[in-house]
Structures are given as structure tokens and as C-alpha cells.
């Protein structure tokens, strides 16, 4: 069957279940029910600290077919996921569903575990590196389920994603399971992606390399959610934890795009006191933040909040008084961690508070402007950030679909071509975020506005900015690069792209 975006999706997918087709960004809003959580009450005599991962697996009765979860706050420096999965494999356990909020190049050991049948299903929001390439080649027998950050929290809280055991890498934990991410040699800042797991999983284990005296302070994840605590030598490599952070682009083309984007934001009238703003961690996105900073300072504008994964650049803007508060779901660098430690105006938001559409209002609902990227954009403004134009998975929504749905103004900033590949195509290889959420595309050679946004078109007409139809922009690119040959895909579904509301917006088919 076709969903409303014209994507061909089966009615039932083996390893996923019955498909609810995507019908619109807020079509499934309404009454929601949260899952019941079953737990083992803890009495005064019970001790939570265990001797090692082996004992943990015994106590939680880890068995074939269970679902385990991990957060990705330690990013490419994380040790915990690989450690736990290796221990599980050692016990001869099989058919585990891995619900990791993101997977990185350092998770390459998973490939062996998949081949050996230890891990047979993956649920995640983002994947990159060898594991993503192998999954795209179809090493899993069932498709990967890809959520948005908000959608994963939704799935966990509603019970759609049931977690048997949540392993929470804890930079600091006391002996009763009070966790924070602020202190310890593997400090990573806000633990936004671990909260729903802690609250809803059957069993929760704190894995720490920094066991402190009771009670730890502050408490990000409370003892009332944690069953066991285990100490290991190291939960992660600090260098890898702050890896993947980018600097502002030095490329003149990127800087031009940033300047044009700033002009667009100002022209819409949204850059004013009490404004809220979020930008990605990519080079051009950060350059946009720098331009905005310049403008806000020049005009004495104070915003209400900046949100997202927080980088040092946003912290600078906050410190200079340009935003009253920060909403932080994950810290990307040391500066962000230090800021989070030092002031309560730099606040943590859980993944659910960030972008779950099925609660009483996520932060994305209050967002004025969000700056995002894209690997492909089609004539209907649908955006792909899940697969590259070779058809292989190289990312995932993360907060893309969530912020785009909530923000008053969603701007995609991108070069028109990346190494001869036009970003604007007739039809995206996969849809991650639907066109109705995307308002403006800014490239160095032209700006396209979603025809739905006649208000923005009017405002931009009054400027000197190069506004053109998206079809024209595509032609400009193709004139330079030539028309790319379409990637041939097989029928085999290797990933299901689930929209934040639980419906299926697209599926990833294995490239030929």
C-alpha cells in the first residue's frame, strides 16, 4: 500500500508487525495510554551493588529473546554496550533485541554478534559506521526499526517498545542507583536519552566507573527506578565521548549559506525577544548560530531558550545573555558539560520532554526556529537523513522529525551539491521527515520556500534573497552535475522508518 507521501509500504512486515501508515504530522494526536510498569519492590535489607556484569546477568535473569537497552551519551567513546553484549554472548544467550538509542562506529563488534545469532533485532534512532553498512547489506533477518528521539520515548512509554533490561552507563552512581552524568572521568552531561528506559524498563542496571558515597548529588535518574548497580573499570573513553563534535565551517560556501539563512530568519520576523532556537551540530548549522549571535547582539535581543544537543557555541550565546535558559537533551562537548554543571538555568530535558508527541506537550512544540540538514530533499520538500544517495543507512532522524514538526520555522541548510551529488532530487531514496514540516531550503545558489507557507513567501519577496521554485533549484544543480542514475534497490526491507507517532513513514530497501 502507499502512504500519503506515495511511499510503497507493505501492510505487514515480518519482524515488525502490522503497519500503521503515516497519514500526517498530527493525525494521530488524541487520548494516549501509558504502559503499566511491573517492578520488584526493594526493602531496607536489599543490596543493589553487584560484583560484575556476570552477576548482573544472573540477577536480572537475562534470557533468550529479551530486549535490552542502552543510551548513547558516551557516543563513540562508549564501552558499556559492547561490554554487556559480549558478556551476554559469552553466556550463550541468543535472539536478543538491542534497543540502543544510537549506534556508532565503535559498535563494530556487534557485527559478529549478529552473525552468531546473539543479536537478532535492532531498534535505534541513528546509526553510522560499519554496523550501519552491514545492516544495509541485510545481515539482520528482520528489519531495524528506526525511531526519532521523541518517537523512541513514545514507544517506550506506551509499551510499544518493551524493555526487559535497561543498562544505563552512569558517569556517577551511588550504591543505591542515584545517577548523574555530571561528574566522574567519563562525565557526559545531561542524560536525556536514558530517562524513559529507567522509568519503564522491567529491570534497570546502573553501570558505573565512579561509585560514590550515598547519596549522590544532583540526582538525574532516581534510585526508585534502579534495581542494581555494578562497577566497571571504565564506562567510556573521554576523548571519544566528546567526539563527533564539529567546528563552525570555514568553507566560504557554507559561510554564505549561513549568512543567507540569517537573512531569512530575520525577514520572517521571528528573531525578536523571547524567541526560541535550535540548531544542529554540523559545520553550517553552527555557522548559522554564529550569524544569529551577531544579529541578536547588534539588536539587543534576548531569547527565551535554545535547545537541543548543546554545543559550546550555544553555551557561548547563553553565557552572553542571548538566551535566558537552555534545554539540553545531550551535551556534545566539555563546554556544554561544564555549563550544565555550573548553572540550573542550563536544564536537562528527557527525550520525552524534548520530542514525544504523546505527552502533554514537548519542548519542540514551543520552538520558533530550527536549523537542520539533509542528505536528500525532493520536490515535495520531503527530507531524507536516514540513507545516503547510495541507499545505505548513514544516520537517522535523531531529533530531525520531532523539531521539524514542532517548530514555527524549519529551515534546511545545505550545499546544493555534495561531491557532484545534487541534494535536491525528484524522489528521495527514503523519507525521514515529511515535506509538510519543512518550510525553507537554503543553499548557496538559491532558496526554496514550501508553497504551503505563503506567509513566508510574502515576507521573503521583500528582500533581495534569491528565492526560486524547488524545481528550478534542482535544475541549477543538474545543469552542473548531470542527472544522477537512480540507485537500484531490491525488495528486501532492511529498516522500517517509524515516524514519531508510531506510524510508518517509509521503509529502507536493500540496495542492489
Amino acid at each position: 500500500m502507499m502512504n500519503i507521501l506515495g511511499r510503497e509500504i507493505p501492510e505487514y512486515i515480518e519482524g515488525y508487525g502490522k503497519v500503521i501508515p503515516f497519514e500526517g504530522t498530527f493525525k494521530r494526536a488524541g487520548i494516549k495510554v501509558k504502559k503499566e510498569v511491573k517492578l520488584n519492590s526493594v526493602t531496607p535489607n536489599d543490596k543493589k551493588v553487584l560484583c560484575g556484569i556476570e552477576e548482573v546477568l544472573e540477577k536480572v535473569e537475562l534470557a533468550d529473546g529479551m530486549t535490552i537497552s542502552f543510551h548513547h551519551h558516551l557516543r563513540n567513546g562508549d564501552y558499556v554496550l559492547n561490554l554487556v553484549v559480549a558478556a551476554i554472548a559469552n553466556r550463550g544467550i541468543k535472539n536478543i533485541t538491542l534497543a540502543a538509542s544510537s549506534l556508532f562506529p565503535n559498535n563494530v563488534p556487534l557485527i559478529e554478534h549478529i552473525k552468531n545469532g546473539v543479536i537478532t533485532k535492532i531498534v535505534t534512532n541513528y546509526m553510522s559506521g560499519p554496523i550501519a553498512q552491514e545492516v544495509s547489506r541485510g545481515i539482520l533477518k528482520t528489519p531495524v526499526i528506526m525511531h526519532t528521539h521523541g518517537g523512541r520515548a513514545r514507544a517506550i512509554e506506551s509499551g510499544d517498545l518493551h524493555i526487559d533490561v535497561a543498562f544505563i552507563a552512569a558517569p556517577t552512581s551511588d550504591n543505591y542507583g542515584n545517577i548523574n552524568g555530571l561528574y566522574g572521568r567519563s562525565a557526559c552531561g545531561a542524560l536525556g536519552y536514558a530517562v524513559a528506559d529507567a522509568q519503564c524498563a522491567d529491570k534497570v542496571v546502573a553501570v558505573t566507573d565512579n561509585l560514590v558515597a550515598y547519596p549522590t548529588c544532583p540526582i538525574e535518574i532516581s534510585q526508585i527506578y534502579v534495581d542494581y548497580v555494578v562497577q566497571v573499570d571504565s564506562i567510556g573513553d573521554p576523548a571519544g565521548i566528546v567526539s563527533g563534535t564539529t567546528k563552525i565551517t570555514n568553507d566560504p560556501v557554507g559561510l554564505k549559506i549561513a549568512k543567507m539563512t540569517s537573512d531569512v530568519m530575520v525577514a520572517t520576523g521571528l528573531v525578536k525577544n523571547e524567541m526560541s532556537f535550535q540548531t544542529g551540530a554540523g559545520g553550517i548549522s553552527l555557522a548559522v548560530a554564529a550569524e544569529l549571535k551577531k544579529y541578536m547582539k547588534q539588536h539587543g535581543i534576548v531569547g527565551s531558550f535554545a535547545s537541543g544537543g548543546i554545543t559550546g557555541y550555544i553555551v557561548d550565546m547563553f553565557k552572553e545573555g542571548l538566551f535566558r535558559t537552555l534545554f539540553d537533551v545531550q551535551c556534545f562537548d566539555l563546554q556544554a558539560i561544564q555549563s550544565y554543571v555550573s548553572t540550573h538555568k542550563h536544564q536537562r530535558m528527557s527525550a520525552s520532554m524534548y520530542g514525544n508527541p504523546d505527552n502533554k506537550g514537548a519542548v519542540v512544540n514551543n520552538l520558533d526556529i530550527v536549523i537542520l540538514g539533509a542528505t536528500e530533499i525532493d520536490m515535495n520538500f520531503n527530507v531524507n537523513v536516514t540513507t545516503g544517495s547510495d541507499g545505505a543507512i548513514m544516520g537517522g532522524s535523531g531529533g530531525h522529525s520531532d523539531t521539524a514538526a514542532g517548530a514555527k520555522l524549519t529551515i534546511i541548510v545545505t550545499q546544493l551539491m555534495k561531491a557532484r551529488l545534487p541534494i535536491i532530487v525528484d524522489r528521495v531514496t527514503n523519507v525521514t521527515t515529511p515535506g509538510e514540516s519543512i518550510d525553507v531550503i537554503v543553499t548557496e545558489r538559491g532558496i526554496a520556500v514550501n508553497p504551503r507557507r505563503t506567509d513566508i513567501i510574502e515576507k521573503l519577496k521583500k528582500t533581495n534573497l534569491p528565492i526560486m521554485a524547488i524545481e528550478e533549484l534542482k535544475e541549477v544543480a543538474e545543469k552542473m552535475t548531470g542527472k544522477p542514475k537512480a540507485i537500484e534497490l531490491t525488495d528486501e526491507i532492511v529498516a522500517v522508518i517509524e515516524y514519531r507517532d508510531g506510524s510508518v513513514i517509509d521503509v529502507v530497501r536493500k540496495p542492489l
Binding site: 544517495s389 547510495d390 555534495k418 561531491a419 557532484r420 551529488l421 552542473m480 552535475t481 548531470g482 544522477p484 542514475k485 540507485i487
Partner: protein
């Protein structure tokens, strides 16, 4: 034109193509192309190389090329440069 000796042109930078050519002992045109956009543009790039060689009247050559997303005009220019250097 005859290819009298090996020659190279271009760089491995983004948007460029690194061309290495040498005489072909058995005659005919042999093209070994590697590209970061092989699936999408491989066919078109090979055609540009062949057309350029034809324009230069090269009938016997081995071309090894490593492409980093060069546009057609760059491919043409680098092939021509290498061929002229091989005189």
C-alpha cells in the same frame, strides 16, 4: 595523439579527479575508473573520458582514474592535460 610515456594530472582533492595514463601494449582504450559516485555517475564519467580521448585522437591508452566528485569539465581538462604530458 600517441601516448609515449606515463603521465598524470589532477589531484585527490574533493571535486577533482586524479588521472594516471600510460601506453597500452596491446592497443585499444582501457579505462579503470574508481569514483565516490560510481553508481550515480560512473557511466557518464566514462563517456566523458572516451569522448575526450576521441577528440584528442587517442586510440591506444590505459587510463587509471580516481574520482572525488569531479564535474565533467574537470574530467575533460585533466584527461587532456595528462595526454599532452605524455607526448
Amino acid at each position: 595523439m600517441q601516448i609515449n610515456k606515463p603521465a598524470k594530472a589532477g589531484t585527490m582533492e574533493s571535486n577533482d579527479i586524479y588521472i594516471m595514463i600510460m601506453p597500452s601494449p596491446k592497443g585499444g582504450i582501457e579505462i579503470n575508473l574508481q569514483s565516490i559516485v560510481m553508481k550515480q555517475f560512473g557511466e557518464e564519467m566514462e563517456k566523458v573520458i572516451l569522448d575526450t580521448l576521441k577528440e584528442l585522437s587517442v586510440e591506444s591508452i590505459i587510463v587509471n582514474a580516481q574520482d572525488k566528485g569531479a564535474l565533467n569539465y574537470t574530467i575533460k581538462a585533466r584527461i587532456e592535460t595528462a595526454v599532452k604530458r605524455a607526448q
